[in-house]
Amino acid sequence: MSHLLTDTGIIFGRYLRQTLRSRLALTFGIIQPMLFLIFFGPLLERVDLGGDGSAWQVLIPGLLIQLGLFSSAFAGISILVEKQYGVIERMRVTPVSRLALLLGRVLRDVVQLLVQSLILVLTGVAFGLRAPVLGIVMGFAFVAVVAMSLASLSYALAMRVDSPQAFSPVVNAVNLPVMLLSGLLLPMALAPGWLDALSHFIPLRYIVEAVRAGFVGDYTGGTVILGAGMAAALAVVSMTLGARLFRRAGA
């Protein structure tokens, strides 16, 4: 266990330094949600979104989860690059814990995402977002769990495929429908019955609704509990699957 923690720390440190070296990538990662915030958010200000709170309290939770979805789902790209350099094999020949190779990377992704999320929320405040601090912190916790889950799956997929050409289409094929069916941009309460029914099969729907509830100060209602349950289930399934595939890859 102590090896796992030390090894995870070493791997986390290595990839955190990598992130700090590539501030440009960090900035570009947050551009897409910023564009939605700046150019799409104002359109919603006068629209009745059917829930409690302002348009910002609906949109920004969605953008947080969207940021988590897209940056984490593509996290595996870095593994493909490292495979070409031979870094992955070099590390797999050392006694380092296989789980730490995954956890160290995932932890870096979570930290990176939380920094981006903070920037997004602060920009939202400048635009007019007003939400309780506890609710925002709760939202960050949901974002962290989504990131852990999706990044694990993404790394596991990257260990199984050989090229970005094989990796990106799979991720895109999953991400876009998930984004549209989770009600990230507009709440599913506005959807016709069939679309609403379909979206109930997407775990992220429950998570984004829980974050929205937190942003209007509801911390203990059924929406939050359901969202937390979904997030926990997603994390357990994804991390188990991710760890297993990561451990076995190449064997």
């Binding site: 990598q18 350099y85 094999e89 070099r90 797999r92």
Partner: protein, 285 residues
């Protein structure tokens, strides 16, 4: 009477207890699923490498060299047979194997955007050295492998020879018992190549290290290795010293290792012989 320990050799033991081999494989096999059944890349390799030996592992492309190497270094699970590497059973104690071996892949294994210092210290840390030990070991390796002035450079800024020395330093971070080198001099200029040969010889003479070397260059194999193992189509087709192979397979007193190689693998008959025999080194079969 208490058993003798190496620390108190009061009475010479005769006959000497033979030391266990560095590597021993028995029927080592690996097949891969393919669209038309399975492909058997390695078909039952029985191999013994003694401690302190430099073994040259040769074979044409696709012979199973890399697959064997990947199994022995725990990167690939065998589908049959067994192997003991540095005293640890491959199937049951891959972590034990990893602690005792160093592996230098053909393409190296460093991130070009990272400094030499960071790569070496991280590598040492992955072998569970403390932060201070990792820093000390990095300085030691840099001095030994002539990387002292390059520690703050990014790996991308190194020349081919410097990069290769770094790759080997990475493989030596934890003072392994066995060093696996996969095509170590491919792409190096003659000077860097000679330096690398010298380094491999030093590792063995000064530290008694066992070296398992795959190469395409027959002159390299002949100059460095104590013994050669030639594989073809997943099987060992010949083994012995370069001299023994030349006299057994070469056919004439002046036979070269290349003559023996072609005779042993049969590739002189199967492929374009003019290519194979016209090529000096590396051989292209």
């Amino acid at each position: 009477m208490p058993p003798l320990t190496p620390a108190t050799p009061a009475i010479p033991v005769t006959p000497a207890v033979p030391t266990p081999p560095a590597i021993r494989t028995s029927g080592l096999t690996r097949s891969f699923p393919a669209t038309s059944g399975t492909v058997e890349a390695v078909r039952g390799i029985d191999l013994t490498v003694t401690r302190g030996e430099i073994l040259g592992f040769l074979g044409p492309n696709g012979a199973g060299k890399t697959t064997t190497l990947r199994m022995l270094t725990t990167l690939l699970a065998p589908t049959g047979g067994s192997a003991t590497v540095a005293g640890c059973e491959l199937a049951h104690d891959p972590e034990g194997v990893r602690r005792k071996i160093g592996y230098v892949a053909q393409s190296g294994g460093v991130d070009p955007h990272v400094t030499v210092w960071e790569e070496l210290t991280t590598q040492a840390r992955l072998y569970r050295l403390s932060r201070a030990e990792a820093a000390a070991r990095t300085r030691e390796l840099a001095a030994e492998l002539d990387l002292g002035d390059l520690l703050e450079r990014k790996c991308a800024a190194l020349s081919g020879g410097q990069r290769r020395r770094l790759d080997i330093a990475m493989g030596l971070a934890h003072r392994p018992e066995i060093l696996f080198l996969d095509e170590p001099t491919t792409g190096l200029d003659p000077g860097s190549r000679a330096d690398l040969w010298e380094l491999v010889r030093r590792l063995r003479s000064e530290r008694g290290m066992t070296v398992f070397l795959t190469t395409h260059y027959l002159d390299e194999a002949e100059a460095l290795a104590d013994r050669l193992v030639i594989v073809d189509k997943g099987r060992i087709v010949a083994q012995g010293t370069a001299e023994a192979l030349k006299s057994a397979y070469g056919g004439s007193p002046g036979a070269t290792l290349q003559d023996a190689f072609i005779a042993a693998t049969g590739h002189g008959a199967e492929t374009d012989t003019s290519d194979a025999s016209a090529a000096a080194t590396p051989i292209a079969v």
